[in-house]
Symmetry: C2
Subunit: 223 residues, 2 copies
DNA sequence: TGTTTTTAGAGAAATTTTTCTTCATATTTG
DNA sequence: CAAATATGAAGAAAAATTTCTCTAAAAACA
């Protein structure tokens, strides 16, 4: 098992989504060229990515859509249910508990945790809320493997430590800060500031290069 | 102006966040080594990243925290206000309108759009809701540059087209699908399925490699 | 059945990103 | 005031990722 390139892992769900829609439309076979076109990617890259999942395509025929979907789902282990804790039942946290599509990805929230006393003992979308100190014991007892952090930045490390104490295997961090954990714990940061930074910076750079492009065109016209 | 590597752009907000906290704690000068340590990165990488913002550090002293913060903010153009439209005032969309920290990044929601007739004419966190067909004309009139997509997948392309028609410069896409736009429009996808895929796949790979590590250790002990 | 066209697969090449090295310089210490 | 030390800068090297190129297989069509 070679390790999968990060960019490949991130592209796979996009293939999956596209393929599911194709299947709904009755498409049974599909070529890497078509996939690439639809997602504005290079067809070689699509093939390279799909190679990791183990599926084989046939020249001139392409891939079987159903087979491909299944292969991606299994590669990402989205076919098996994975129980998860949510830490921080605020704005974003509640929205996540209410998002029932997570099941499609195998993610199943079994409990949420918060410091707000008014929330303790209640339920949000049928998920019960507990105090944070319950995390370690409950995680061990219920064998929960994933912790989702939707807490403010200052509370992120404490929550992480509790999850690690509970023997959690992966942390999906939505708090706007890095957290530290032993290296065998998978940490996946999902911060909107990252993509916002890319967005705003690219706006400047695109502007600049369009400007340059326009200028060089003018020069070109002049000569 | 050389173009900035994607990973660099994504790391900058993390430096920013860390530096802000340092400043709060009264730290005035900081070295790339310290930053690297705090964020579990390589110090050379930190220096390379910071280089893009144009700041210069002094040997043995490091960087001035205030100066660094300012440089990053300006590099990301987060010091100037940028008006934005939000398309899709559902669960996630409402949460975003309510998140008042966006101001810190220069992002300012001036209007939201939805298809739900009950929402039209009302306000969410003081932001008025309109029908989608108003997008092009309003975007032009108000000179709005950013469109934030928090619609279901099937509505994403239509919304994108309307934004493009309105002369928008960048689209921040939270819908679980790719959208197409002319190449001068910056599109930044921010999909949780991407990081979830990375998370779940890494869990398997870490498991596998830990197992291998354990096995090779056993063998090592045997000989 | 033979020829042409399309496409997957494999590996090479190019590009991008990260890591490593060396060097000059500012600060600290004796 | 000189030596030691930590640090940033610059560029080289290495690693990772993407793109390109070629070959062979399958399908379409004559």
């Amino acid at each position: 098992m070679r390790i999968t390139p990060e960019p490949t892992m991130r592209r796979l769900p996009h293939y999956l989504h596209f393929l599911k829609r194709q299947l709904e439309n009755g498409v049974e076979k599909i070529s890497s060229t078509i996939i690439a076109q639809a997602l504005s990617l290079d067809s070689t890259q699509v093939r390279k990515d799909l190679e990791y999942t183990g599926v084989k395509g046939k020249p001139k025929t392409g891939f079987f859509v159903k087979e491909l979907i299944q292969a991606i789902l299994e590669f990402l282990t989205w076919t098996t249910r994975r129980d998860a804790f949510l830490i921080g039942a605020g704005n974003l946290g509640s929205a996540m508990l209410g998002y029932n599509r997570f099941r499609e990805y195998g993610l199943n929230f079994v409990a949420a945790f918060d410091t707000d006393e008014n929330k303790i003992g209640s339920e949000i979308y049928k998920v019960p809320i507990f105090t944070l100190d319950k995390i370690p014991s409950m995680a061990r007892r219920m064998n929960v493997q994933v912790g989702v952090l939707t807490v403010p930045a200052h509370a992120a490390q404490t929550a992480t430590d509790l999850l690690v104490e509970g023997g959690i295997k992966a942390i999906w961090n939505f708090a706007p800060t890095y957290v530290k954990a032993p290296k065998e714990v998978v940490i996946e940061n999902h911060q909107f500031t990252e993509s916002l930074a890319a967005l705003t910076r690219k706006m400047v750079e695109v502007d600049f290069h369009l400007e340059k492009y326009r200028l060089s065109n003018l020069e070109g016209n002049r000569t």
